[in-house]
């Protein structure tokens, strides 16, 4: 009797033996640092002695909210994310629809369309830097040949963000394409055929039959692309370093620069806190849109 009771108690502990090691790991290397960075934003920590900063209350935030560079950075972050979602998702959906039906050489085409997603970020940055090169880059060679002169793709205030978005779209559109292609497989072919035979044109077949089937996939892909845009550091940092005059300095670029070039860890953490609020806001949308996914997780 007692034995089985003890065994019962033991059995109830078994799941924790499995879940605790990974959760403790995440506590130490993810959630504790997150909490610490919230606290650091209330201190005047400098890089020379990162473990000793004096508590200064909301001083960093007062400076932050007085600084036009902060508002620019917030604006750039949101604009960059929105543009990446719009163009990345549009190109991804178009690609998926273009190669959905079988044709000769489809697997090769599919593989090539995935290149942008598979090439590592740093390598992608290097090749695009070369293509955007002022003097010898392919883009300026083309525009010069076309007689419209050279452009400062990464150095002009009007073009830099668009140039970064172009690289981003090249990287994320393939992922959107894969997600949408998977969803397209669930569209019954007979239904599409029937719609066509009944005289529906391509566009109305798409709207009435295909779109409802791929809508959840497109939604999820948009959210992921948005989240990734806010997280993305390497290509922006390597292509423009946040310049010219801050027109591409997203929050994450700002964090790294304030901390390791400006040596002000407290101030960088204040930027980080704003970034966290932004990430949480998107997570909330994500969460509401994905109740289903959460249920799957804890089913």
């Amino acid at each position: 009797m007692t034995g089985s009771k003890i065994r019962n108690g033991m059995t109830r502990l078994v799941p924790y033996a499995f879940i605790l090691p990974p959760m403790i790991y995440l506590m130490v290397f993810m959630f504790w640092p997150l909490a610490r960075q919230m606290y650091m934003s209330l201190t005047n920590t400098k890089i020379i002695n990162p473990n000793r900063g004096r508590f200064i209350g909301l001083g960093n935030y007062e400076r932050l909210f007085d600084d036009p560079a902060f508002y620019l950075s917030l604006k750039v972050t949101l604009l960059y994310a929105v543009l990446a979602v719009i163009f990345g998702v549009a190109l991804g959906v178009i690609s998926a629809l273009a190669i959905d039906r079988p044709f000769k050489g489809r697997s090769i085409v599919r593989a090539i369309l995935l290149f942008g997603w598979a090439v590592p970020n740093v390598a992608a940055s290097l090749i695009w830097l070369w293509m955007y090169n002022d003097r010898s880059g392919i883009f300026n060679r083309i525009t010069e040949f076309a007689g419209i002169g050279r452009f400062g793709w990464l150095t002009s205030i009007d073009l830099a963000l668009a140039s970064i978005v172009a690289v981003t779209v090249w990287q994320v559109a393939p992922f959107v394409m894969l997600v949408v292609l998977a969803a397209l497989q669930s569209v019954p072919h007979e239904v599409r055929e029937a719609a066509r035979i009944d005289g529906a044109d391509g566009l109305s077949t798409f709207r009435a039959v295909t779109l409802p089937h791929i809508r959840p996939a497109v939604q999820l892909a948009s959210l992921l692309v948005c989240v990734w845009s806010i997280r993305r550091f390497d290509i922006i940092y390597l292509l423009t370093g946040g310049g010219p005059v801050g027109t591409t300095s997203t929050l994450v670029v700002k964090i790294r620069q304030t901390a390791f070039e400006g040596h002000e860890l407290g101030m960088a953490s204040a930027y980080g806190a704003v970034g966290l609020v932004l990430a949480l806001a998107i997570a909330a949308v994500h969460y509401l849109a994905e109740q289903r996914r959460m249920k799957w997780m804890s089913r």
């Binding site: 190669i99 090539i112 290149f115 740093v122 695009w128 392919i138 901390a259 804890s298």
Partner: protein, 271 residues
């Protein structure tokens, strides 16, 4: 007519997606005099391959790739170990706080790496992990562990409970059930999770460039990035090194693309 339009569209997409990679290869096979003077030749000049090989010899790409390999492999082992424990708990048990665990794992996917950069830097100074590959791996795994967990949980859900039931009745420890019965059955998903974790470490740049000051510890991502804005290394060598660095990632991503998508969208689109 419509068919022609469709093929034109496919052709355009192929050019847009494929050109940068094609140009990377073409640049690697060009001579510096062409790149900065007479103009880059638009087809790959394979006769310049020995020249590229000689130039690559001047770049410590071998050492960088070795460091990258250590970082990626260490991160893979750690995130698969912890990820399979978490995946098994989420797949097979009901317990208090399960909803919270799911939520926290999900949260890690929206946290920008830059947010924990500063606190990790401070922590690594305290524990002497700055400038060490071990510290870098520990930081990376925080982000790759949850993805591994999602992929493995999805695979374990598909394994019927009956398969482990008899072993459990025979009092076989649950840990052995996981390692001896479940894991061997989901090898394809383990391979997929391994590729995802491996290339997360392979590609990582932000943590590596912040935590590793010593050139001897640099992985290829940091080494290649050091070419930005310096003009001593010929552009063809830079592109050649970038190509060598990209090749494994491209090959493996293309091999397991469907599994990666299933992992990242697990539970959202189907099920």
């Amino acid at each position: 007519m419509l068919k022609v339009l469709r093929y034109l569209l496919i052709g355009l997409l192929v050019v847009l997606a494929g050109f940068p990679v094609y140009w990377m290869a073409t640049t690697a096979l060009s001579l510096n005099s062409e790149l900065y003077g007479t103009g880059q030749v638009i087809w790959p000049q394979l006769q310049n391959l020995p020249e590229l090989w000689r130039e690559l010899g001047q770049v410590p790409i071998g050492l960088w790739l070795f460091n990258t390999l250590l970082i990626a492999a260490g991160g893979t082992v750690l995130s698969l170990t912890l990820g399979s424990l978490a995946g098994y708990a989420l797949s097979r048990f009901r317990f208090h706080g399960k909803g919270l665990v799911g939520f926290l794992l999900f949260m890690t996917q929206v946290v920008p790496e830059a947010l924990i950069l500063v606190p990790l830097y401070a922590m690594f100074i305290t524990f002497g992990l700055l400038n060490s590959l071990i510290g870098l791996v520990l930081a990376n795994v925080g982000f790759s562990l949850p993805v591994a967990c999602f992929v493995l949980k999805g695979a374990m859900d598909a394994v019927p409970y009956e398969i482990e039931e008899s072993a459990i009745i025979d009092n076989c420890p649950r840990f052995s059930v996981l390692t001896m019965i479940i894991l061997p059955l989901i090898m394809p998903s383990i391979a997929a999770a391994a590729v995802v974790a491996f290339f997360a470490g392979w590609n990582e740049f932000l943590f590596a460039s912040t935590f590793l000051m010593d050139r001897g510890n640099w992985p290829a991502s940091v080494g290649l990035a050091s070419f930005v804005g310096q003009y001593e290394t010929p552009m063809s060598a830079v592109m050649g090194a970038a190509l060598v660095f990209s090749l494994p990632a491209v090959v493996f991503f293309l091999l397991i693309q469907r599994k990666i998508v299933a992992g990242l969208t697990a539970g959202a689109v189907k099920g």
